[in-house]
Amino acid sequence: MAGTALISTTVAYSDVLVLNSDVPGIAKRSVLQDDAVLDVPENKSLKVILKPSNVTKMIKGPYKGTAKDYAPSALSGVTAKPPVELDTGTTANQRPQFKNNLTIIPDTKP
């Protein structure tokens, strides 16, 4: 992220609160100034809440810019589907490691 000096720990009137992040250098619960330029690499993402509008955004890389300006196109989610997916033929009792390629048969509500 450009300008680490733009990170603080308390939320001011017009700030960006990081709710979740796997971007190196941007920790969960850190507070960014609203003009901080984020550099999110490919396959990385962070979830933020913009203040004072109280709007949540999931920023997916690659992206370089401010959180406020992040606006992917309607077609950004259109990707080539994997030719094969896996179903777990067992009763899972913990979170499987290969979450992104998993197809699960719907079950009843917990």
């Binding site: 709710l19 949540t56 309607a74 777990t88 699960i104 719907p106 079950d107 009843t108």
Partner: protein, 414 residues
């Protein structure tokens, strides 16, 4: 009756009859098997690309999601710790939402103190709370259903059923895609859906005009469709939760799970990447649709029949036109493109999901049969003559005719 030496009247009547028969045939085909699947496929793409995109996040609906991270520190994952759910309800209620919807179905006792704490939290909250309910169709064993009903009665809060509707395929395996909301349950006092009960708290009289779900796409400003926070962020230290609470104020807040292996469903939006949507997010979509009074509809049978009749007549007339008929490929392409454009226009401007595949089938069939009408007419007349001269309604006649036609068809000579 006037004389018809050239058979023009008869030929025109036969043309009209052919148009009607083809329209009926395409209509019947569109309701079964693979044409139905293709119809869903094209409609799903229209939904995934051209549904409503708000300028920013929805102003009336928010989500609080219990994820695997939330449950990671608890010794038991399912059933979820009811003390944790109770605490979550209290924290959310402190944000003064318009209402809280709890998208869980409680079907068995857990730790007595936690069960009691949950019931207290539900009863004592000073905001409207709606609980999800199910009936016999959920497949619970009688003891679970009995507990579920006792729990709802003890909670003393409004309830709504949490079912979605999924159309099955009469001939193949259904695609398991949620496209419609479920009707009210008549056997339980006209029990409305969970989403409908919640939406009516925000907008009096909110009710679905059609069963089809009118999906919202991600807003244009890059925000998430709904204000969305993880339960773990609200369950920690109060000073950590405090910045998140204003986003829940005056909204319908749905509390539900976003777990990797439970309550996840295919929707029309899955056509893009096969991603399954947590049930609570589908409820949120329906609540938003009912509050916004948005709706989508499909054509009913008579409307679809009339549409097909018009398309087939147009294709038939164009293919027999003295000048246009010479450009068959161009007609096919122009017609197909026009149908695609009409589908998008109808979806965006009239909230109508046009049956593109059956319309295309009708158009191409009409282009195919138009120039061959005389030939078809001759064969049909020959068939009638054959029947009349070979014994009328005797089964052996039909057997002979069928085997002859079948054999010719097999040889490619028909």
């Amino acid at each position: 009756m006037a004389r018809d030496p050239n058979g023009n009247v008869r030929r025109r009547l036969f043309g009209a009859l052919t148009v009607i028969v083809v329209a009926i045939g395409v209509l019947l085909l569109s309701k079964i098997g693979y044409i139905q699947d293709a119809e869903h496929w094209t409609a799903d793409w229209r939904t995934a690309l051209f549904s409503t995109r708000n300028p920013s996040q929805h102003e009336s609906v928010a989500l609080v999601l219990i994820t695997d991270e939330t449950l990671d520190s608890y010794p038991v994952r399912i059933p979820m710790d009811r003390g944790m759910i109770a605490k979550l309800i209290r924290v959310v209620a402190s944000a003064h939402p318009a209402a809280i919807g709890i998208d869980f179905v409680f079907v068995r006792p857990t730790v007595p103190s936690a069960d009691a704490e949950l019931l207290s939290a539900i009863r004592e909250a000073d905001v409207p709370i709606v609980l999800g309910s199910v009936d016999e169709r959920a497949g619970l064993i009688p003891k679970q259903l009995q507990y579920h009903r006792q729990f709802l009665a003890a909670a003393k809060r409004p309830t709504g059923h949490v079912f979605f509707e999924r159309k099955t395929n009469a001939f193949g395996i259904s695609d398991h895609v949620i496209r419609e909301m479920a009707e009210p349950i008549e056997s339980v006092d006209h029990q409305q859906s969970f989403a409908e009960v919640l939406a009516q708290i925000k907008r009096k009289g909110a009710t679905p005009h059609t069963p089809r779900i009118a999906w919202l796409l991600a807003p244009r400003d890059g925000s998430q469709t709904f204000y969305e926070v993880e339960a773990s962020d609200l369950l920690g230290e109060p000073e950590d939760a405090a910045p998140l609470l204003p986003g829940l104020k005056d909204k319908i807040v749905l509390i539900g799970s976003d777990l990797v292996d439970l309550d996840r469903h295919l929707t029309p939006l899955s056509v893009v990447n096969e991603a399954r949507m947590p049930g609570v997010k589908i409820h949120a979509q329906i609540v938003a649709q009912l509050i916004d009074d948005r709706w989508l509809r499909t054509l009913n049978w008579p409307e679809e029949f009339l549409m097909l009749l018009g398309i087939i007549f147009a294709g038939y007339a164009a293919s027999r036109h003295r000048k246009l008929g010479a450009f068959k490929s161009t007609l096919a392409w122009v017609g197909s493109t026009s149908l695609v454009i009409s589908g998008f226009v109808a979806f965006n401007m009239l909230n109508l999901v046009l049956p593109y595949t059956s319309a295309l089938t009708a158009w191409l069939t009409a282009l195919r049969i138009g120039p061959r009408l005389e030939k078809i007419h001759q064969k049909f007349a020959a068939m009638l003559r054959y029947i009349s001269t070979n014994g009328g309604l005797r089964w052996t006649t039909y057997y002979h005719l069928g085997s002859t036609l079948g054999w010719r068809l097999w040889q490619g000579r028909l």
